[in-house]
Amino acid sequence: MKSKLSRMQSGTLRELGRVAFAMLFAFAAGAVFLMAIGSNPLTIYGAIFAKAFGSFDSTLRRATPLMLSGLAIAIPLQTGMFNMGGEGQIIAGALTAAVVGASDLGLPAGLHAAAAIAAAMAVGAVLSGLPGLLKITRGANEVVTTLMLNSIVSYIVTWLVLNPFKGTDYSPQSKKILPAAEIPTFGKLDFSWGLLIALALCVLTHLFFRSTAKGLEMRAAGAGPAAARYLGINNKLLCLLAMALGGAVASMGGALEVLGGQHAYFDEFFTNYGFDGIAIAYMAGSHPLGIIVTALIISMIRVGALAISRTTGMSPYFVTMLQGLIIILLVTPRFAGTVLSLVRRRFPARKKEEGGAA
C-alpha cells in the first residue's frame, strides 16, 4: 500500500515528466522553426538565456508588474469572473501613479509613493469594477466589456499623456515624478522594492483565499451554480469585490513600475502585459504562489528577447512565438499523454509498459 509520501512523489514525478515534455517540445518546435528559416537555434536560445540570467535584475524588475497582472486575472477567477482588462488597468494605474508622483503634494518620501499607489489602485478598481457591476446587474458579458475598456482606456491615456499630462515635447511621456515619490532600487540593480511588494501581495492573496472567511466565500461563489444560488445577493457582491480587487492589483503593477523603474509614464511601455498576465495566471492554475514562478518565466523570455536582435539579428518577435508555444503546452494537461498515445497507435509493435503516462 502506497504511503501518502510516495503517492505525492510519484505524482510529482509524473507532473515533472509532463511538464518537462511540454517545455522541451515547445523549445524543440521553436528550434525547428528557426532552422526552417536558416537560423541557429542554439545561438538564439543561448542569447535569450544569457540575457535573461545575465541581467537577472532586469528580469526581476519586469516580473513585478507581470506577477500582479497574473493576480489580476486569478483573483476574479476565483469567483468565476473573467477580467481581461489587465492591459487597460495597468496603464491607467501607471499614468495615475506618474501624475500623482509628479504633483507637489508636500508629502515625505514613502508617503508620497504610497499615495500614488493608492490612487492607482482606486482607478484600477473602478476600471474593473464597472464591468463587474454591469455583469451582475445587466448580465453584460465581462469578457467583452473588459476587452473593450482596454482599447478605450488606451486611447484616453494616450490623449492624457499628450495633452494635460504632457512631459516632453518630443515623445509621448508624462513628467518625471518627484524624488519623494520614487520607490528606491537596490543599489545599482534594476529592480526596486516594488518587487518585494509584489511578492508580498502574492503571498497575501494565497493566504486570503486559503484561510480567510471572505476568501473562502469567494471561492464558494465561484464554485458552481448551486453554490451561487444558495448565497444569493452576497454572491453577486463578492463577484464585484473580486473584480474590483483584480483591477486594483493590476493598476498597482503599473504604479510600481513607474515609481520604481521608469519614474515617468511612457506611452506603449506596457504593451501586452495584460495578456501575458492571462497566460501567467492560467499556467499557474490560478495559484498565487505559482504565479510568482510563471511570471518569472515569462519575464525571463521577454527580457531575453530584447537582446537577441542585437546579438543575433533575429527579430524579438520570435520570443512572442515561443511564449505562445509555452503557454499552450503548459495549460493542456493531457498534451504529453495524447502525443504519446498517438505515437503508440502509430507504432503498435513497440512494447510500452502498462501504466505509462496517462
Partner: protein, 294 residues
C-alpha cells in the same frame, strides 16, 4: 456627411471582421470559444499575401489563406479537443504564435520587416450605393446564408448545436462530440482564411506587420453582442464598422480630439451590451467534454 456616404467605408471595414465573426459563431454553437481569430486572420493574411507575391494571382492567395485557416483550426482543435486545453488560454497562445511567426517571417518571405511589397489585389467591383468593394462581398453574402443554413436547416447543424448545449445527451445518442466540434472549427478555419485574405488582398494589396490590430477581438465582441447568432452578427459587425467609419469622418468636422473619437466603436459596444447584455451562450460554451469512462 450622411449615413449613406459612410456606407462604402463601413462595408469595407466590416468585411474581414464579419468573416471572422461568422467563424466564431459556428464554433460558439458547438461550445468552443474561438478567441484565436486574431491570429487566424493575421496568418491567413500572411499566407494570402505570400502566395500572391510568389504566383501573382490573388485568387491563389485566397485559396492559400483558406488552406492555412483549415490547418490553423485543425491544430487548435487538437489542443482544445484532444488535449483538453482551456479554450481562452490556448487561443491567446495561438494569437501570440501567429503574431510572432508572421513578424519573424516578414524578412525571409518579403525581404522587409514591416510591409510586404504590393501584390495583386482581389478583383474589385463598382456597386451603385456601396461604391468600390472587393469581390469577397459576394462571398460574404453566400457565407452568411451558408452558415445560417448549415446551423439551422441541416442535421449537421442540429448535432453541432446539441453538442454545444448538452454534450452528454448528445453523446448518449451516439453523436461524437469532439468530432462535431472539430468540424465546426474547420468551418471556422475556412471563414478565417477568407477574412484574412480579404484584409490583405481585398483591401490593401499588401501585408503589414500586425495588420489585424485587434480586429479578431472586435469580431469576438460582435458575436457576443449578437447573442451568438449568425444573422444578428451581420448587424453587429456593421454597427462596429459604421462607428469606425463615423469616427474618421467626425475627425474632419468636429474639434474633438481624435483619441476620443477613436474610442467610439468600443464605447458604443459597451453601452449596447449594457442594454442587450444578457444573451445566453450555449450551455457548454468554453467547457471541454470528457466522456465519463475515461
Amino acid at each position: 456627411m450622411s449615413v449613406l456616404s459612410m456606407l462604402p467605408s463601413t462595408v469595407r471595414l466590416t468585411l474581414p471582421m464579419l468573416f471572422g465573426a461568422l467563424g466564431i459563431v459556428v464554433c460558439a454553437q458547438s461550445g468552443i470559444i474561438f478567441m484565436a481569430m486574431e491570429g487566424g486572420l493575421l496568418g491567413a493574411g500572411f499566407a494570402a499575401a505570400y502566395v500572391c507575391f510568389l504566383t501573382g494571382s490573388a485568387v491563389l492567395g485566397e485559396a492559400a489563406a483558406i488552406v492555412f485557416g483549415l490547418l490553423y483550426a485543425m491544430l487548435l482543435s487538437f489542443f482544445i479537443n484532444q488535449c483538453r486545453g482551456n479554450h481562452v488560454v490556448c487561443s491567446i497562445g495561438f494569437n501570440f504564435i501567429m503574431l510572432g511567426a508572421t513578424t519573424v517571417l516578414m524578412q525571409p518571405a518579403f525581404g522587409n520587416t514591416g510591409f510586404s511589397p504590393n501584390v495583386q489585389k482581389l478583383p474589385l467591383v463598382q456597386l451603385p450605393v456601396l461604391g468600390e468593394q472587393s469581390i469577397n462581398l459576394f462571398v460574404m453574402a453566400g457565407a452568411v446564408f451558408a452558415v445560417w443554413f448549415l446551423l439551422y436547416r441541416t442535421n449537421w447543424g442540429l448535432r453541432v448545436r446539441s453538442v454545444g448545449e448538452n454534450p452528454a445527451a448528445a453523446d448518449s445518442l451516439g453523436i461524437a462530440v469532439n468530432r462535431y466540434r472539430f468540424q465546426a472549427m474547420l468551418v471556422c478555419g475556412v471563414l478565417a482564411g477568407i477574412g484574412g485574405s480579404e484584409l490583405a488582398l481585398g483591401q490593401m494589396g499588401f501585408f503589414a506587420r500586425n495588420m489585424t490590430a485587434n480586429m479578431g477581438f472586435l469580431s469576438y465582441s460582435a458575436v457576443v453582442f449578437a447573442g451568438y447568432k449568425p444573422l444578428a452578427v451581420v448587424l453587429t459587425t456593421l454597427f462596429l464598422g459604421f462607428f469606425d467609419a463615423f469616427q474618421m469622418n467626425a475627425q474632419l468636422l468636429v474639434d474633438i480630439p481624435s483619441e476620443f473619437l477613436l474610442t467610439l466603436p468600443y464605447a458604443v459596444t459597451v453601452i449596447a451590451l449594457v442594454f442587450f447584455g444578457s444573451r445566453k451562450a450555449p450551455a457548454m460554451f468554453g467547457k471541454n467534454y470528457t466522456r465519463e469512462e475515461e
